[in-house]
Amino acid sequence: MRAACRDFHIFADMLDPWKRILRTATFAFIALGASRSFHLRAQEGGQIHGNFSMDGQYYTEDTLIGALQPPQQWGSNAWGNLNYSTGNFKAGVRFESYEPALLGYPAGVPYTGSGIGYRYASYTKDDLEVTVGNFYEQFGQGLAFRSYEERYLGVDNAMDGLRVKFRPDTGIYLKGFIGRQRLGFDGPNRGGFFNGSGIVRGIDGEVSLTEAWPRCFPKWIEKGHVVTLGGSFVSKYEGDDDPLYEFPENVGLYAARVNYTTAKWNIYTEYAHKINDPNTSNENIYKDGQALMLNATYSVKGLGVSAGAHSYDNMVFRSGRGAGPFDLNINFQPPLAKQHTYNLPATLYPYATQANGEVGYQGEVFYKFKKGTKLGGARGMKLAVNWSGAWSLDSTRIPNDTVRFDGYTANFFSLGARNYYQDLNLELRKKVSDHWELALTYLNFVYDIAQVQGKPGKPMIYADMFVLEGMHNFSDRNSVRFELQHLNTKQDQGNWATAVAEFTFSPHWFLAAMDQYNYGGSVTTEQIHYPIGSIGYIRGGSRFSMSYGRQRAGIFCVGGVCRVVPAANGLSLSITSTF
């Protein structure tokens, strides 16, 4: 009798996750069924294509690592895109489903329920392209405007409105848009995504001098140089009903850029200036903002060198004054830190641009020691050296700032007292035989965790890391890859060691195991293992994988944006497919 009751309870507990899985699956099924029948019918007229992605996790509680079990037990993020194109016409829709969303996802305003996340229609006529509905767009490298998606991070500031692109002549590109930005997702109440209340509009022009007016620049053309100039103006409107402050309702930003390219050199610079824009992020000051980025690269076969610098001052630009750091961003301030691929350096202490101001530098060299040279040996060897760092902006608070509310004065490109991070890393990679490849990496981090991760009072972190990676082919199809990583620090959680082994059986299967061990070293911490195993199957454009084990709390970054993912224990499932 007791057993029966217990079973019944389990069944009742399971109903909810069941329903969720079913709903997700049904949605995928309908999307699919639709696409398949269209596929046949649309053979002559047009094409239907799209993709599907699902990440699900069954959570179990694990107090040792602080992993929680949410009341629903299961979480999943799923979406599917369907695109139709025929001739000059294109239209598409994305269904999304969060029943509920994975813990810690998305980074900003919550996503709940299922519904439509994105839809658009566009047509192209000669050199004119018109899009209505949702679109993603970027001006230059984004200091003025960037509407983009990082679906796996939960960042999506898609525009919803109208966009026109026009090419009046060879080498001249014009763009203009108006609309609102996606803010969050609420299936049950709004049937899908919803926008912020602010309106954003912008225009951008780009001219390739050598393409537009070839007769004026015969020397550049002869040498194969390309010079491109660009300029943008973007403004936002947000009504002001604040009882205390008098906020500007329209805020404008202009930007200019130059790109000079030769066979070996590429020099890019972009400058942006924003007029008064009091918002929560800058504590409602009326100071103007400005940003400048410079980048130069030189490369020939076997050698690549790059150097970059930027200074950002009060350049947060959002279509909602009170919006959080991940929401309603109109522009993008790229950081200069390298995005690491090994687990420990990538997810423990990653760097993201400090929103209100920083000065950053980076330098990098790639070099290939040729076959037959002393260091290159019989198969050559590759070297990569990279350094980057960011500092606070040298600024002074304005005393008795009660009239203009300008907040502070800053010296552009002058380093302040605070070093946010520095990252020096070296990598050597060499094929030692026909069946073995080895890579050795050293990394050194200086990291102001109090500032970058918002943990006030925590001391500066100094960390050294070594990674040894090896790859061995057993045959044409089967191989093993391993990583041994060690992080040494006297701060934060102390030392970490990680081991990864991955067996691959091309073209379909992989099997992987990883253990991360936080043993502290000279720091007293709980000594915790984080073992996890994965299996995956790939066929054509589809990938299916399953993992079971502990996942350490970590920071996952794509582009310049990082999201904190809480610790979890349990089974996770991932499916992606392109059709």
Binding site: G308, T341, P507, F544, L573, T576
Partner: protein, 163 residues
């Protein structure tokens, strides 16, 4: 029970794997490393096949794949006349690192930049690496997600089938 639930969900998704690929290259503007804009619908290789590979400087398996193919590329070209276009989805943060990286690796591919994911979206790529094989008439005839050592042999096999 957990397992049962999972396998049921799995079963439901299985038809996904049965979908055939077809279609032409979309019309999207990307940038070349020498600063020019190119419309992808104009891509062709004089009646010979093309490989379109999506990658990023921050993607380890992508770099493994392109470095592996790099060693065989001259041979592949000789045998099939193929052209590989490596589409970097690096955004403003890392797109400036693409040219030095590509040269530092000594690659002979045509490399283009897709910094805001326009081509990635148009071809419905979820994650990188993702490879498309395009026949001499511009039809996408095969695709593959992920990279495992040895996958390049499969790609080459499919490539030879086109001749």
């Amino acid at each position: 029970m957990k397992l049962l639930r999972t396998s049921f969900a799995l079963f439901l998704f299985l038809p996904l794997f049965a979908i055939a690929q077809s279609g032409k290259l979309p019309s999207v503007v990307v940038q070349t490393l020498d600063g020019k804009k190119v419309n992808t619908s104009t891509w062709s290789n004089g009646g010979k096949p093309m490989i379109i590979n999506f990658w990023a400087t921050w993607c380890a398996p992508c770099k493994r794949e392109l470095n592996t193919i790099a060693e065989k590329y001259a041979d592949w070209q000789k045998q099939t006349g193929v052209k590989l276009i490596a589409v970097s989805i690096d955004d403003a943060r890392s797109m400036n690192r693409v040219a030095p990286y590509v040269n530092g690796q000594d690659w002979d591919y045509d490399v283009v930049l897709d910094p805001n994911g326009d081509l990635k979206r148009a071809l419905n790529v979820n994650n990188v690496p993702h490879t498309f094989l395009v026949d001499g008439k511009g039809n996408i005839v095969w695709q593959h997600n992920n990279y495992e050592p040895g996958d390049e042999n499969e790609l080459f096999k499919k490539l030879k089938e086109l001749l």
